[in-house]
Symmetry: C2
Subunit: 384 residues, 2 copies
Amino acid sequence: MAATCNAIVHIQEPFCKAEKKDLGVTKAVFYPWRNTNSIKLKKRSFSVIASGTSPLNIDTINGRKVNGTYVREAAIIGNKISEPHKESGVDTPLHAILLGRFVEQRFVYRQTFIIRSYEIGPDKTATMETLMNLLQETALNHVTSSGLAGNGFGATREMSLRKLIWVVTRIHIQVQRYSSWGDVVEIDTWVDAAGKNGMRRDWIIRDYHTQEIITRASSTWVIMNQETRRLSKIPEQVREEVIPFYLNRLAIAPEKNDNEKIDKLTDKTAERIRSGLAPRWSDMDANQHVNNVKYIGWILESVPINVLENYDLTSMTLEYRRECRQSNLLESLTTSSETLTEDSNSYNNRRPDLEFTHLLRMLADKAEIVRARTKWHSKQKQQE
Amino acid sequence: MAATCNAIVHIQEPFCKAEKKDLGVTKAVFYPWRNTNSIKLKKRSFSVIASGTSPLNIDTINGRKVNGTYVREAAIIGNKISEPHKESGVDTPLHAILLGRFVEQRFVYRQTFIIRSYEIGPDKTATMETLMNLLQETALNHVTSSGLAGNGFGATREMSLRKLIWVVTRIHIQVQRYSSWGDVVEIDTWVDAAGKNGMRRDWIIRDYHTQEIITRASSTWVIMNQETRRLSKIPEQVREEVIPFYLNRLAIAPEKNDNEKIDKLTDKTAERIRSGLAPRWSDMDANQHVNNVKYIGWILESVPINVLENYDLTSMTLEYRRECRQSNLLESLTTSSETLTEDSNSYNNRRPDLEFTHLLRMLADKAEIVRARTKWHSKQKQQE
């Protein structure tokens, strides 16, 4: 019972023979579990589809096409551990830098990114959409690297068996400083319980070089049945999968969180309505849905251009209400919050911070898709 | 005359003193030139803005904010070479993987990317926009790492001094195979002369693990005055900067290139017109213009949904005619090429390949922005 890891993975004969009997020529199960510090073995099964004769090539792990990068995580099988071959095309730094790695006794997943040229906006810093994309990417790589991944985005194996998916209900992000093109950021993420049937996922973004925390974010997830689209309790088997990862730590202190409910905007209360927003084909993600992150662009479409140009978006809270498909035409509503007037008194001659409430809704039946609240800080004020 | 490289770069005293006299406390010039194989020194000047007293911190290189990542390239000053400190927060693999590196006697620049979760489309493979973004990123890092970079995107120092910028006039990309989420790709790029006043930039994308070439691309660039927006000849000083990088190699063999001119579509010749396309704030790039890559999404908006769902985009040629700003409303025109009918005869019962001609134009005055030609290959046919 031993496996070797290579650019293309080979399962050696003893293992294949043992498994062929039970699972057929092209399927095998093995048990990968790797702790970055001490190598441990736990009973977590991994479904592998392999092809070829001898040695077999692994083509998929848990239904997902794999190449050598992922197979590092699968280099432990049965009750024996085999270190990946050194001559592998994938070296540890490549894997760690491109995909991330576990830190802090495997409770925190950490990935490093460089801000790319096409990820910055007109003010030459990373956009809010970029930050949210990077948070999503780190979260998904966390699930993949944990060895729990089932089919689809972020679902565990036990969830996939039950056709369950994670659905985000709320996300709150606080940005201290936006990074520029070429800046390197380090993102930490971890999960915890949220009530009885929810999961909380937090993130911290640091400037890689100074280690200063520049962004904090927290999100809440519930489980939905992919077919009925109804919310579900967390099945016991799923809870058992995720509980070992739970870390009781908050990225945002409770008193600094944005806990207030977001008011529903209407035609009467909205100061600005931007209509006829049409999702493009290129806005669709692998689930044929509009990706959560794309909503941000539409929400910002009803924010005054003067604000987009002269203010930094320092805080954003999104309450997701309903999915959106490509055929849906949308409307973006925005109104400035009343707190604006109160707050501005205390700022004397300085330009006040701004706060807006938003609603993204279907054009046809006015059904709510996302409520949002944004806070803005004058770029000028930061330079004073 | 020695410099050390650290997470924050320090220029040591001897160097600073020498330069302070000529350039003031906060400015210095040094001469970095690094060959990945043998370390050489050439006379290529680098304008550095530094802050602090002793040691000075480098804040910008050629007008661009820097951190330790870039400074690796700037670790050579005067006529002495100092190896970057080992204790630097930036290790070579991080730099090489996140930013890329020179190969083949510094004629080719190579960068490795992993396809991220948000870079794939509904068919779960990287989108054409993703590929074009990665090509752009590699090209810009090529310029940055060459030590030639001036202000702005991809302009050399001598260009920046003359307020000149590169403008793409044509890009052609051929995709053999689209990568999936988690696949690692390796992109090579290099430049060559194109006629008297143009530059050609080619790219090859390989599957990192199999080293199979999966995409080839070629583009033509000319120089424009940033203020007058008029085309310019290549100044002699700019030619001298770029000529040492020219490599006489073609990513796409001439007989396989798409050399045919693209017909201009009109209201009469277009089969499909998708009107009222509005650039979003989030489509703007650091030049306050719509990024070239964003055009692709709008072009695809007038392609029949059946084609988007059932065919792979295997070839795309873009002829850029005019810039687009956020206030411009756009129209996307598409028509199937006549070759479709001829070709389809030879395919018998199989679904034929498709070819389309496109035009993206201003809604108001019908002015052309981009002409395009796309070729499509049935997904079904590939599986047969």
